[in-house]
Structures are given as C-alpha cells and as structure tokens.
C-alpha cells in the first residue's frame, strides 16, 4: 500500500465516529496500544519539546527505508502519533517527502496541528520530513 492509500484507510476508519468524544476515545485507545519507546531512547536528543506535552521520535534508516518509533507523555498526542507512525514508518524517504498530512484535516484533527497548541506534533511532522530529506540524499 502507498502512503496515500494508508491515509485513505484511516480517513474511512474515522468516518464512523459521529462526535469528538468517540474520536478522542479511539485516539486514547490507539495511544495505549502504541509500543512505549524504551527509556534509553527517551533521550533529550530524541525529544521534541513543545510546551504542552513532550514528544520523542527516533528514526532509523535500514535497507533504503525509514523506520520510526515515537512516544509522548500525553495520551491523545500519542494516539495521533500512532497514526503518523502507521503512515510514515517503513517507507522510502522520497515517498515521505512527497506526502502531506492533509488526512489529519479530513479526520477533523487539524486543530491539534496548529502551532498555538504547541504540543510537539507540528515539530514531530517537521522532524519526520527532516529525516526523510537527510536520508533521501544517501539513496
């Protein structure tokens, strides 16, 4: 499946939710299921500091693909992170660079990306793109 196809799948999954309550409950569940990044990776160098919640992101480049693991101390943020990991992990850098995150708009989570939320998500997406740019050069 391409990144676009996975994003479409997520949008379909979210279409069953009628209100914000259901959406948040689902995100909380997803957040709980996301494997916790090991304490050793919760280093400051992997920390994307927003002033509302903390987000850790670790990227590894293997066999031409970028793999991401991530964590946050805020569970709703963690739920959104799990969606981003599902979409972007295990992909070629060039595919990541050519994608956007408009699917978050479509599932009604755009407000969570606004810089004023300062929850580290926007920075995390930038960081994913940065990793992709970095490793697309070594391709």
């Amino acid at each position: 499946m391409t990144i676009k196809e996975i994003q479409q799948q997520i949008v379909e999954e979210f279409s069953v939710f009628t209100g914000w309550m259901d959406k948040y409950e689902y995100l909380i569940e997803l957040g709980r299921l996301l494997p916790i990044i090991e304490e050793g990776a919760k280093l400051d160098e992997n920390l994307i500091k927003g002033c509302q919640s903390r987000v850790w992101l670790k990227g590894e480049f293997t066999d031409g693909k970028l793999y991401f693991r991530a964590d946050s101390d805020a569970i709703i943020t963690k739920g959104i992170i799990s969606l981003l990991v599902r979409v972007f992990s295990g992909r070629e850098p060039s595919e990541i660079l050519n994608s956007d995150v408009s699917f978050l708009d479509e599932i009604g989570l755009r407000e969570n990306l606004s810089p004023t939320r300062a929850n580290g998500l926007l920075s995390m997406i930038k960081q994913i793109k940065y990793y992709a740019a970095l490793y697309s050069q070594t391709n």
Binding site: I28, C51, Q52, S53, R54, A74, I75, A118
Partner: protein
C-alpha cells in the same frame, strides 16, 4: 452609582460570557491568563477609537484635549484605586512585564553595582525572573532565591539568612500565578525596610484578588497589568515611590519624557512623564480607568463571599479525587487551582475540557523553575474571576472527573 451586589448582576456586564464554544456554554476559567471586559470598558474603547481620538499632551484642539483628559483622569482613578500618595507615582506602561523591565533597567542603573545582589523567590513568573537575570549579568550582580516549601510557602527562616548587606532589591509576587497563595508581603517588606532594602511586588494577580493599598503595604514598587483586571490589553501600571522615581534615570527616551532637547544636551521631564516616552496607549489607559471605576462600584462583600465559597468548594472536591495533587495549600488561597493528576496529562485533560466548553490553562504557566522544583513538566490551572459562579465550579469538577475516567 451602580452598586452591583451579586455575581449574576456582575455577569450581565460581560458580553464575552454569553458565547458558546464547541456548542457548549462558555465556562471561562482562565482568568489568571487574561480576563474579560465589562461593557463599559468596551464602549469607551469603541468611543475613543471612533471619535475621541487625538494625540495626548500635544495639541490644543478639542479631540486632543478630551483624549488627554480621559488619560489623565484614568491616572487619578488608578491613584485612588491603589491609594498612592501622588498621581506622579502612577506610571502607565504596556503591562506588568514592561513595568518590571523598567525597574530592572532604571533602578539597577542608579542603585545596584558589581558585587551586589537581587533577591527573588523560587515561585516567580518568568517576567519577574528574566529581567533580573539580565540586570545581574549586565552589572555583575548575583541573583539570590528564597526557596518555597512543599505547600508553596516561602521559607521564611531561609529568607532571614539571605538578607545581607549585598541585597539591594527584593522582587516577589504578591500572589503566585501557579500556587494561588497570597504571600506574607507585609512581613517581608517590614524585614526588608529594617535593613534599608526596597521591595518590588509583581502584582499581576495581586491587584485582582486583594484590595491593594500601596501606602499600607509600604511597597516601593508595584507592577500590574490592565488585561487581568478586566481592563484592556496592552496597558499596565508601575507604581513607584516618588523618592525612587526622582533618582532613577529614564529608561526609554523619546517624545513626551523630555523637558528640553538640543544636540548639546537634553533634559528630562518630571515623573510620571519622565518614564512615559512616545505616544502611550492612551486609549488602553482610559479603558483601564473605566475598569477600576467599574470595580469600585461593585459591592466587595459579594465578591469576597463568592471567592471564599468557591475556594472552600474546590479545595474540598479536588482533595477527594484520587491521584490528584493540588499545588499551593494555604489559608491565604485565592480561587486559583493548579493541579496534576496521576495517569492523566494536563494537555489531554484540557483538550477534552475545551470540548465541554471549559477554558483552562496547561503547561508551565511561564514558571519553569517552580515546576522543576516540584518535578513536573506540566500542570493544569483553573482560575476564577469575579463573574464565575459556584455552579461553574461544580460543572468543572464533574467534567474533570469524567475526563479523568476517560484517560485513566
């Protein structure tokens, strides 16, 4: 004379409270960050923006005259509101932060030298930390800190040991924006003055929840903002004792703060204008005058009773929630509650509360050192204003419980 005597009557004056957010009635509990404005203030701002607009102190024409009158009578209203001895001791600034920066720059230039120290507390807002750090770095002075105990109170015994002959100024919050405690400022000022040390009070929260009488307090400087006091944004006040204002050099230079200007030499105006360079926010200042006039017409017993009820209720209810820690426990508590909850991150809680129409604040509240002291990275804060009701407190508690059960 309005004589507003109940919270419901007070509410009627605030149009912002009538709105819905996310489909729910707004329950605005972020007053420590900024407060809403009564219709009288809004109407005056509109009136000045649409008609009574003319640069002040500068012209003889009608509009300038009327604007100047509004600006200068606001200064008189504020002088009365805080019981300053002279109107010249009321300086208009852009807010608490600007007021503190003014003192940090100007007072230190005149009175602080290399090897001296400035004393602040461990529970200050960044606006009452950073200007002093910058001043100390410029001068070669030291910043000393009064530690805060687990309940959030100043360690008064340690304070005594910190007060030595190097201390040239003490700068502390009247009421903490995170702990919601009225600090023992009278005791501090008394100790400080016995050693000849002046005291600056960061009154951003204090002016809102206490009847401030600067002569009674005998503080040397008092800084506050208009927008937390139900007034406009972008305006604030520095109160300073005349004797200091006379000795302090001006900070910002420009129009209005001068007596004569030649390229050889420029002489300065007397206070307050000496510290009000350029065109001030005269519309904001006039609005602040209206805000304090509005507040003076409210029966203070009604506000105090309401506050006490809310404090009692919230203390009781929050204590009963398992895993919840309240920061700032004291009999001198104002209705401001910063909490952490085990298993629930403040930003998650606030996000869901927002969907329920409740506005609260999360994060570090511009007080990173204090949060470090309690080993937390983020808190949730609910802060009540004169228009908040016990019903709203009750709705907040019920919603908080729901939110916690969703997250845990």
């Amino acid at each position: 004379m309005m004589n507003i005597s109940s919270v419901s009557k007070i509410r009627e004056h605030f149009p912002a409270l009538k709105q819905k957010v996310n489909g729910k009635d707004l329950v605005y509990l972020d007053n420590a960050a900024t407060a809403h404005k009564p219709i009288g203030v809004i109407e005056l701002l509109n009136e000045m923006n649409s008609r009574i607009n003319g640069n002040i102190h500068r012209a003889v024409h009608e509009l300038s005259s009327r604007a100047t009158d509004l600006y200068e009578s606001a200064r008189d209203d504020i002088r009365e509101f805080i019981n300053a001895q002279e109107r010249e001791e009321v300086i208009f600034t852009s807010g608490t932060t600007a007021s503190i920066n003014l003192v940090a720059n100007s007072f230190s230039q005149a009175f602080i030298k290399r090897g001296d120290s400035i004393l602040i507390s461990g529970a200050e807002h960044h606006s009452n930390i950073v200007p002093w750090q910058m001043a100390c770095e410029r001068i070669g002075a030291t910043l000393k800190i009064i530690p805060v105990d687990n309940e959030g109170n100043w360690e008064m015994k340690t304070l005594d040991s910190l007060l030595d002959s190097t201390v040239k100024l003490i700068a502390v919050a009247h009421i903490s924006n995170i702990l919601g405690i009225t600090n023992p400022v009278e005791e501090l000022i008394s100790k400080a003055h016995s050693l000849g040390i002046p005291v600056l009070l960061d009154g951003a929260q204090g002016i809102v929840h206490q009847k401030v009488d600067v002569q009674k307090l005998d503080c040397d400087f008092y800084a506050f903002s208009g927008h937390k006091l139900y007034g406009p944004t972008g305006i604030g006040v520095l109160y300073a004792k005349r004797k200091f204002l006379d000795e302090m050099p001006p900070w910002m230079g420009g129009g209005d703060m001068v007596a004569t200007v030649t390229f050889k030499k420029t002489t300065y105006a007397q206070p307050p204008l000496k510290f009000e360079a350029g065109t001030p926010n005269f519309i904001g200042a006039s609005g602040l005058g209206e805000a304090v006039r509005f507040l003076s017409e409210i029966d203070s017993t009604a506000i105090n009773d309401n506050e006490l009820q809310i404090v009692e209720y919230m203390n009781r209810e929050l204590e009963a929630i398992e895993g919840l820690r309240l920061y700032g426990c004291s009999k001198n508590k104002i209705p401001l509650f910063s909490i952490s909850v085990e298993g629930a991150h403040p930003s998650d809680m606030a996000m869901i509360l927002d969907k329920m129409g409740i506005a609260v604040r999360t994060g570090q509240m511009c007080s990173e050192p204090l949060l470090d002291r309690y080993n937390v990275t983020s808190l949730l804060r609910a802060s009540f204003g004169i228009y908040n009701t016990l019903e709203e407190a009750s709705y907040f508690v019920a919603s908080l419980k729901k939110v916690i059960s969703m997250l845990r």
